[in-house]
């Protein structure tokens, strides 16, 4: 289990992570969401022992990570770079890593390599970006660590390869309870792979929950209210609706149709709106991408404002 308690990370005088608490259970596929600069990669670097925190405690299975060789043997970090491997062939890279990770499996490596058909004798600098990613991912999986940290790991993979690599990951998660922590801007992938997500913004955790509860707790409501005296639909302001106890993330009216993003239990939201006698009421589930956008909008990260500029 990974535990971050009151973690603070600073770069010079800039606070990148501000008193973060986070728990990631063993065997979880954990997705890290957040805007650029939110601190997702920093968390992964703290977990892999690249960085050391300025405050708080970080443990993996009860052990610290920074400068702790034994803990690091249980963690593999695949970052968003590929340039570091350019000077080696796949075999050389494999030979390099296999000495560091005691559980490295040549058999598994060879099996995966044949699946994705990577050459062993060519310099990695001759590989495409996607091939480089495949190479490091199969090495990471062959190391058979307990924890795999992936930072934009699917970047550059073609759709077929994405499926293959994801399958390899899922197999590892099922077979040996691999805990995977994925940071990605591709929310579709997070949606497909992860069972738990955390949203970060400005170095703080906005939420950390299992994906189903995240999805079940936020809704898109399309509603048309009954007509008033002058043959017009009744008008409600955001404040009036919020006053009814609804946590509204987004509010928009197009002619007589209201588009509202509301947080909370589905039944409760339905009940509150029905009290206003709507003519039409649709409650539609949101995709993870939509949830991300609306949550970020509340936090002042409004992409509409960027579009309007």
């Amino acid at each position: 289990m990974i535990e971050l308690k009151g973690i603070t990370k600073k770069f010079d005088n800039t606070i990148v992570l501000d008193n973060i608490d986070l728990t990631i259970n063993k065997g979880t596929a954990f997705g890290l969401l957040g805007s650029n600069g939110a601190g997702k990669s920093t968390i992964l670097r703290l977990l892999s022992g690249v960085y050391n925190q300025e405050g708080g405690n970080l443990t993996i299975d009860g052990d610290t990570v920074y400068d702790n060789v034994e803990t690091k043997k249980r963690v593999f970090f695949v970052n968003d770079e590929t340039a570091q491997f350019s000077g080696y062939t796949l075999t050389e890279l494999k030979n390099f890593y296999k000495h560091y990770y005691p559980n490295f499996s040549e058999e598994l490596f060879e099996k995966m390599r044949l699946t994705i058909n990577l050459p062993t004798d060519k310099k990695i600098s001759t590989f495409s970006k996607g091939m480089k990613r495949q190479a490091i991912v199969i090495i990471a999986l062959a190391c058979q660590t307990d924890y795999l940290l992936l930072d934009e790991a699917f970047d550059g993979l073609d759709p077929t390869m994405r499926i293959i690599v994801k399958r390899m990951l899922v197999d590892a998660m099922i077979d040996r309870q691999l805990t995977t922590i994925i940071s990605s801007h591709n929310l579709k992938e997070i949606n497909e792979l992860c069972d738990t997500v955390a949203l970060l913004h400005n170095g703080k955790i906005v939420f950390s929950r299992d994906l189903d509860s995240v999805k079940g707790n936020i809704h898109k409501v399309q509603v048309v209210f009954s007509q008033s005296n002058e043959n017009q639909s009744q008008d409600y302001t955001i404040e009036e609706l919020a006053g009814e106890g609804l946590e509204i993330l987004h509010f928009e009216k197009s002619q007589s149709v209201y588009h509202i993003i509301v947080k909370g239990d589905t039944e409760l939201v339905k009940k509150k709106i029905q009290e206003k006698n709507p003519v039409v009421l649709d409650i539609i589930p949101l995709s993870l991408e939509e949830i991300f956008i609306y949550e970020m909008e509340v936090l002042g990260y409004d992409f509409n404002s960027l579009e309007n500029k």
Partner: protein
């Protein structure tokens, strides 16, 4: 997709990283092997070739190979910078930071495996070349006398020289790793490695030359050398020069090598420990910062500013131009470091603080006479030996400047006492400036003797001074003349003189040369051998009186005086019929060419010493001028006076002095009446 891990990979992370880094430096390693093969072994082979051919054409051809070997050596030393920056590339290459830092490898293992891997890459080819060179040396030139003399007799020195080279390379590498650890970009790492290598020796040199130049008696060049040789790779190169000079000294300071090695190794170890400490503290996120440890940058920029402004101490009128120049340099460094004109007011503030610090330091140095070094005289029991680098010998016609190293306790004691006297004399005198410049002595008509010496301390350090001594102070150093090392050195000079020149015998007036013995003469070798042993015996038997107030001078062998007490030497000369002209013969021969103007000076009771030394003090003496010609040469009184005139003589008695053909001759006190009569006769 479960699989069983292969448990064959039990290699320690330290060695995994070591071999990984070694492979990373493979190309440089191959380059170094080639370069090292054409440096030390080639030097050894070319030296053998040089010693086996004596014609000049061979020397010219060998010169090109020597140049190639030196060039190869220089390049291979510089490659240490590339190895250091390449081995520690995770400190400036952002793309590999995650890969390197996330590996299950402790910081300690990462540092030491990187360090040793790079060092092995750098040093192994040199060590290989050393061994190969020593094998070549051992095989040598069978039967070649010069090779046997020059090299087999100096094997330990050759090995020591190679060890010096090894430590210089070690310093280059450690310093490069240190700078790489302090910087976060390849540009800063590389640039500041070169800057620091140049800055350490230049700052030390500028500091001493500008701050100590007006301190009384401090031998700046020697002091600078002492400070330089321990503190930088370039300083190590200076030590090679000193080592070569010391190796050829009569009393070789063998302790000096080990002291240098010890201190040099300590300095390197100090930088290494500091580097490890800073490496441990360094964070992964520091990569791409120009300076991870800004203190280093501020030290460097302050030293550069100091180096520029230090010259103001010597020449106050340079203040404004140097302030402007240093400000521009400071600004350039700041703009490069900050990647633009950021917080320029801070730059101005820092520059101001640096300038003020430079002037405060300068004032402290001046006010304290460099923390008391000006008046410091070491304790006798701390001195291992002393080296007279340059010295005006008392009562020497030859005017030679011997470089003499001696561990004779009497000489050491005499020098310390003389040094203390010099300092006391200086402290008591208001007009201190006059002791700094021999011109001042000349203007005061005071006799002065230049001496430059170095204390070789038991700790292996050196302390050098140079002074102009008074006659009294020179007399305090008379023990030198009885020192075995001095006599050996004199005999070596005497032997070399006889080896390289024809033999000339001159009378005490040295007006004419006769007789002489041509070097090629069949009997010369036998004569030479006898003369050398006889002269040495006489030198060892002479007393203070023989040196200062000899009873008479028999003549000169080339420029070496033979006193009438030197019975052994005189016997050999007479055996070979090499007696000098009689006085009458010599003067007649000289007067046949032209008449001679002489001056007879009255005794000067105001002067403490009457001596034949120097001429300057004659100017204000009272005397008469007269000619010696064929007619007055027969004057009995004059003839008698010339016979008793002494060309080497020093006494506190007030005596007459006769000046003939550019030289002073003292008339001993017992012949003052005779001198007085001659004086009256020619007045």
């Amino acid at each position: 997709m479960t699989s069983t891990p292969l448990k064959t990979n039990e290699k320690k992370p330290f060695w995994i990283n070591f071999s990984f880094k070694f492979k990373q430096n493979k190309k440089v390693f191959i380059m170094l092997i080639i370069l090292q093969l054409i440096s030390l072994p080639l030097l050894m082979i070319m030296t053998m070739r040089y010693l086996s051919h004596e014609d000049e054409t061979a020397v010219i051809n060998i010169g090109a190979y020597f140049a190639l070997a030196i060039l190869a050596m220089s390049i291979s030393v510089l490659l240490g910078i590339i190895i250091a920056t390449n081995t520690f590339n995770h400190l400036h290459k952002k793309s590999i930071v995650d890969m390197v830092y996330s590996l299950p490898l402790s910081i300690k293992d990462r540092f030491f495996s990187n360090f040793l891997s790079g060092l092995t890459t750098y040093i192994a080819p040199y060590v290989g070349a050393m061994i190969l060179s020593l094998i070549i040396h051992a095989v040598g030139l069978e039967g070649n006398k010069r090779w046997n003399e020059l090299f087999y007799g100096h094997t330990d020195q050759i090995i020591k020289l190679m060890i010096i080279g090894l430590f210089i390379m070690l310093f280059v590498y450690v310093l490069s790793v240190f700078i790489t650890t302090c910087c976060g970009t390849l540009f800063e790492s590389t640039a500041y490695i070169f800057i620091i290598n140049a800055l350490i020796p230049s700052s030390i040199a500028i500091f001493f030359f500008t701050m100590l130049y007006d301190l009384y008696g401090i031998s700046i060049d020697k002091t600078v050398l002492n400070a330089l040789k321990y503190t930088s790779p370039i300083g190590g190169l200076f030590y090679i020069g000193e080592f070569a000079e010391d190796a050829s000294s009569s009393v070789s300071n063998t302790n000096g090598f080990f002291t240098w090695l010890g201190i040099y190794a300590l300095v390197i170890a100090g930088i290494f420990v500091l580097t490890y400490f800073l490496y441990k503290r360094r964070k992964a996120e520091d990569v791409s910062k120009p300076f991870v440890y800004n203190l280093l940058y501020y030290i460097i920029i302050s030293l550069i500013t100091f180096d520029i402004l230090a010259f103001v101490k010597e020449e106050k009128r340079l203040l404004m131009p140097l302030l402007i120049f240093s400000a521009i340099v400071y600004l350039i460094f700041e703009v490069v470091k900050n990647r633009g004109f950021k917080k320029i007011y801070m730059t101005a503030l820092r520059y101001g603080v640096t300038v003020i610090s430079v002037f405060i330091l300068s004032s402290i140095v001046t006010a304290t006479s460099f923390f008391g070094i000006e008046y410091y005289v070491p304790s006798e029991n701390m001195i291992k030996s002393v080296t007279f680098n340059e010295m005006d010998l008392l009562l020497s016609d030859r005017g030679t400047y011997p470089r003499l190293t001696t561990d004779n306790p009497d000489v050491i004691s005499a020098l310390v006492r003389t040094h203390e006297d010099v300092i006391d004399y200086y402290k008591k005198n208001d007009n201190k400036n006059k002791y700094r410049d021999y011109q001042a002595y000349l203007l005061n008509n005071e006799q002065h003797f230049h001496v430059s010496f170095t204390y070789n301390m038991k700790t292996g350090t050196k302390s050098s001074r140079k002074y102009y001594l008074t006659f009294d102070q020179m007399l305090m150093l008379m023990d030198i003349y009885f020192d075995d090392n001095y006599i050996n050195m004199e005999m070596e000079n005497f032997e070399n003189d006889l080896e390289n020149n024809d033999l000339y015998i001159k009378s005490k007036f040295a007006l004419q040369i006769k007789p002489y013995f041509i070097k090629g003469n069949i009997n010369y070798r036998g004569l030479k051998g006898k003369l050398i042993s006889a002269y040495e015996k006489d030198l060892r038997e002479q007393t203070v009186e023989d040196i200062l107030t000899p009873k008479g001078i028999y003549g000169y062998i080339n420029s070496y005086p033979v006193r009438t007490t030197n019975k052994n030497t005189i016997a050999v000369l007479e055996e070979y019929g090499l007696t000098p002209y009689t006085m009458e013969e010599e003067f007649k021969s000289k007067l046949a060419l032209s008449d001679m103007l002489v001056t007879l000076y009255l005794p000067d009771k105001d002067t403490k010493y009457t001596t034949t030394e120097y001429y300057a003090f004659n100017y204000e003496k009272t005397g008469i001028h007269f000619e010696i010609n064929e007619s007055n040469l027969n004057n009995r009184k004059l003839k008698e006076l010339l016979k008793v005139a002494q060309p080497i003589y020093t006494t506190t008695d007030a005596c007459y002095i006769i000046y003939i053909d550019g030289k002073n001759y003292v008339i001993p006190l017992e012949y003052s009446d005779l001198a007085s009569e001659v004086y009256e006769m020619f007045k």
